[in-house]
Amino acid sequence: MTRQEILDELKKVIAPYTTNKEMLAGIDDHTDLIKDLKINSANLVDVIIDAEAKYDIEIDYDSADKMVNVGTCIDVISEKLNQKV
């Protein structure tokens, strides 16, 4: 999957947890999940679990730690997808 393809899917993963739909439509690597998308921290575990299900990957604690903005989310998902091949 290209970064763009991961980004398109990631938007669907994040959508239920943000009310900032306008910001979601225009997210880029620097968009912060909490500060910009206003995702409540109580939903961060949901985002990780939904991403695991969506891409059929497992995200360990250390990788989850890195998932603070859209760019690092794509990095982690991309890395885990590559490990599957």
């Binding site: 009310t19 409540n40 921290s41 109580a42 575990v45 990780i48 679990i49 695991e52 604690y61 989850a64």
Partner: protein, 224 residues
């Protein structure tokens, strides 16, 4: 160095079925914490509420730690709750007041806990209602200088939550210090900073919101 950390969870907003799934709660609880549920189970407290209780303690400890250690990342399983003491005959009710504000926990029964992160140890006090959990963390067992408040708000959009929690905290500070030139700013790492006029104060404040609830905590040794 003094700090502050509090966290609120609206139990109406959590997904109970999902929280009970291993793949979900294992990202919050570590193995050593599972036995702590025994006492809560006997008291009829659902497992999902126990999971979110631990979450709120851990997130509060993270906020407390982050003020002086901005590089710390919130990994729930790395914050380990070592002890949790449910008061005997703890009665769980609905939070149905508009708001409550206190300092310490002498007038209100709370769940006392100890949570660690690496070499750091913190004490926690949590209030468990049917509809919310609120935790406050401190570096000592004496919570008398920990001021906190919980408020029910009408609108749950993020802009409204942010505005409400700030004015709720500022009103308390204004009453306490008898001044109205306080305001809240944010540090580079996103932590709330209390300003007096344009000057940064050293008084640590912590803000939290979830759905229709907002809460604050701060630490001060002012004599009133």
């Amino acid at each position: 160095m003094m700090s502050a950390g509090n966290d609120i969870v609206s139990l109406n907003a959590i997904n109970a079925a999902r929280t009970k799934q291993y793949k979900f709660y294992s990202k919050i609880l570590s193995e050593s914490e599972n036995p702590l549920y025994k006492e809560f189970s006997s008291a009829g407290i659902p497992f999902e509420n126990f999971v979110w209780l631990l979450w709120s303690i851990k997130e509060s400890a993270y906020k407390y730690l982050q003020r002086n250690n901005p590089d710390v990342i919130f990994t729930p399983v790395k914050f380990v709750v070592k002890q949790l003491q449910l008061p005997a005959n703890y009665i769980i009710t609905n939070f149905d007041s508009q708001q409550i504000e206190e300092n310490g926990f002498n007038t209100i029964l709370a769940i006392a806990g100890i949570v660690t992160y690496g070499q750091y140890t913190f004490h926690s006090r949590s209030l468990l209602y049917n509809n919310l959990i609120h935790s406050v963390v401190n570096n000592s067992e004496n919570f008398q200088d920990n001021y906190w408040g919980i408020k029910l708000i009408a609108d749950n959009d993020s802009e409204h939550q942010s505005k409400e929690v700030r004015s709720f905290l500022l009103e308390r500070l204004q009453r306490l210090f008898k001044t109205n030139d306080f305001s809240i700013s944010k540090s580079q790492s996103g932590l709330p900073i209390l300003l007096k006029g344009t000057d940064e104060t050293t008084l640590p404040v912590s803000l939290t919101h979830h759905e229709h609830f907002v809460a604050y905590s701060f630490h001060t040794t002012i004599n009133i």
